[in-house]
């Protein structure tokens, strides 16, 4: 082989790698671009969309789903799924609200901690069912979706807690801003950064990816698969518990039906955010951006006066578009890798 040929070969190799890198990052970038276009178009049609109040609303609305999407990502990366999050949110929201309403003197941080622990306990139930009893996650968490909601109904017994029953200081947490940014959004951002760092830089985080990427190989590599899966579910449960208190503080009115059906919004956000539903790849940043994108779309459609019924259909279409795009990209990458391997072989 001549020197030039060697050089072009090396160049092609690099080209191949660049392509793969680019595609790997393209999901987060793609969402950012989609968000930009969405804001641009909607803002052009109705400048009111870009005001501080409107943007603040979008952040507030997406904070809870983003928080849940971060938690869900931890589970989905391990090739599992947690459908029960909405029920955990409901349980935690009602529990927290009830304690605050019945015991006016109780310290608020204690209630928040209690809700997180309650969520973690629910997550532990899921984790044990999936990780230890080996029940498929889809079935196990579908079961606990009903079970937790059932406990919520039984506990509430038709009761509703209103804003007037809860201390002012607690409700303020749901709407207060720090430096112009709503507190729930800051909490979600902090959780996002911590979770993102842990997944990228801790052995435990990398092991979650390994488990989702090839479960059998994870066992052979000596990873404590069971413990890690339980931990992922517990963390997700704890975040759902936190999301529950945030819900109570933000909306003030809490009954046993809180957050019903939210699990699908969360999974949609995770998938749109580029987390592979069969595990092994994706980031919490993508998932959080996915949550932001979906709630921005909802707001934009409202601003553009699209029929509320059509909004649901549009959300569904976007979800399918995201998955189709994902699939096409995956095929492109696989073909590129195949060709590159072939070239290298020669």
């Amino acid at each position: 082989m001549t020197a030039t040929a060697t050089r072009t070969e090396a160049g092609r190799r690099n080209g191949g790698r660049r392509l793969v890198d680019r595609v790997a990052r393209v999901r987060e970038l793609g969402i950012v671009v989609a968000l930009g276009v969405l804001f641009g178009v909607t803002g052009a049609a109705n400048p009111g969309f870009l005001t501080y109040a409107s943007l603040r609303d979008i952040l507030l609305n997406s904070a809870i789903v983003a928080l849940l999407a971060v938690g869900q990502t931890l589970v989905v990366i391990t090739r599992n799924v947690d459908l029960s999050v909405s029920s955990v949110v409901g349980l935690s929201a009602f529990g927290g609200a009830l304690v605050l309403a019945d015991n006016p003197g109780v310290p608020i941080p204690l209630v928040i901690a209690g809700c997180v622990v309650l969520g973690a306990a629910c997550g532990a139930v899921n984790g044990l069912l999936v990780g230890v009893a080996k029940v498929p996650a889809l079935v196990a968490t579908l079961g606990t979706l009903y079970a937790f909601r059932g406990i919520d109904y039984a506990w509430a017994g038709g009761r509703q807690v209103n804003a007037a029953d809860m201390p002012e200081g607690f409700l303020a947490l749901g709407t207060r801003s720090v430096l112009g940014v709503p507190l729930p959004a800051l909490v979600a951002l902090a959780v996002l950064l911590v979770a993102g760092w842990m997944l990228g830089n801790l052995r435990a985080g990398r092991e979650l990816y390994a488990i989702g990427s090839n479960p059998e190989a994870a066992v052979l590599a000596g990873i404590r698969v069971r413990r890690r899966i339980v931990a992922a579910f517990v963390a997700n449960g704890a975040l759902a518990g936190l999301a529950g208190v945030m819900w109570a503080a933000r909306f003030g009115t809490v009954d046993a039906t809180v957050a019903t059906g939210k699990e699908l919004d969360v999974i949609a956000a995770v998938v749109v955010g580029g987390v592979a539903i069969f595990g092994g790849s994706g980031t919490v940043y993508g998932a959080a951006l996915g949550a932001l994108l979906l709630s921005t779309i909802t707001s934009a459609l409202a601003v553009l006066r699209v029929d509320a019924l059509a909004q649901t259909a549009i959300n569904g279409a976007l979800l399918i578009a995201a998955i189709v795009l994902d699939r096409l990209l995956a095929l492109r990458v696989a073909a590129a890798l195949r060709r590159r391997r072939f070239r290298d072989a020669r």
Binding site: G200, R203, A210, N214, V219, G222, G280, D344, A345
Partner: protein
Amino acid sequence: MDQTPVLSLSQVSKAFGAVRAVREVSLELFPGEAHALAGENGAGKSTIVKILSGVHRPDSGRILLDGEPVEFGGPADAQRAGVAVIYQEPTLFPDLSVMENIFMGRQPRARLGIDRRAMRSAAAELFTRLGVHLDPDQPARGLSIADQQLVEIAKALSRQARVLIMDEPTAALSGQEVARLFGVAKALREQGCALLFVSHRLEEMFELCQRVTTLRDGALVAVDQIAGITPDDLVRRMVGRELEALFPKQETDAGEVALKVRRLTREGVFTDVSFDVRRGEIVALAGLVGAGRSEVARAVFGIDRWDAGSVEVDGRRLRPASPTAAMAAGLALVPEDRRQQGLVMDLSIERNIGLAGLAAVRRGPLVSRPAERALARDWAVRLRLKFVRLTDPVNVLSGGNQQKVVLAKWLARRPSVLIVDEPTRGIDVGTKAEVHRLLSELAGSGVAVLMISSELPEVLGMADRVLVMHEGRLVAELDRADATEESVMAAATGRSAA
């Protein structure tokens, strides 16, 4: 040797359901010694490897570490005890980078989490030691089988093990890569590491090892000093009978071309593959794992689409990507993985046999159970299937009998071209000979047989002609007379001029 073995097995047995995979086997691994484990497929070698590595727990018998009994609750325990394993099938994480694959669970840490720079340089150092050029940051997805195997080797080396177990580490490697691996293995041996080496390539055992333990049908046959025996002795111990009986190949006269493949290409998988298979002929498709043999078979049968080229059966061009068209033209494919692709494991024997030939047992739009049963009984007898009732699910049968059911399913269609992919993988020696006899008879009756096989003795013993693939290309065509272990391996590893 009067040292204590680092790791040893004492009278270990392990059964999977009714199959006794390993029966009262003892094995001693000494520091500074390379020990070979020989035996045919299904002799229990992989089970031994998995017991030593903590994947399986023995039903009875003991594992001794430095002479003390231990229990391995899982691979993590074995790893802590200093056992590293290079598995036969690469066990990588496709979504993660090569360096993370090597150091998963043991990534170098700095004050703030994983130290990527240290991990990258450690991986690069390992690759230098192995003399290969792999990018530590590249994802494992898309690596060739050989490169995956090299990552596995790097992973095992990085563990600084006291015991290194290699289960067929060289199956996918080129001669040069094997030489490097052996260089590293010998260095480890001299540093006092105990090696257990499992391979089908006898010359490699003789090059690397000092002692050899031979297994047959799950039982220990002999422990020999390598210096004291010849390869022929070893084969006799492994097979337990004369080799010829295993390959009852009848001489047949090749008839007309039944399967004609021309310039078949599937981008990135195989390129420009052309060959003929005549009636009455057994043509073997040999090559290393990942050379593209099964992929060619899948494309010919219409499971995968091809990008260029043509396939003709009995002179008629086949519609691409249509298994239905392939079946109608008289093609049959017995796939590589019978549990996943060949059988419906929970369905009865008779239903499995009737599955591909439903048209033959049809009465109007319905399947006739009596006709299905008669068909199944007929083929079960012809193939000497060992069963209790035809209504039993196939998962109660042994591997060899399951393979016969797959064969029966396709033979019931009376194909003119039969493609068999690894027809005797994981089945016992006795049934193996029966499958060979059957293939030979089929060829004798005028069926064109294309046999994909990774077992060289099978290729050499059964085939009238041998086609060899390497990295997606057909690199050699050898007549029965010219095909030797050396000539086929040379072509398969890309060493031949062709």
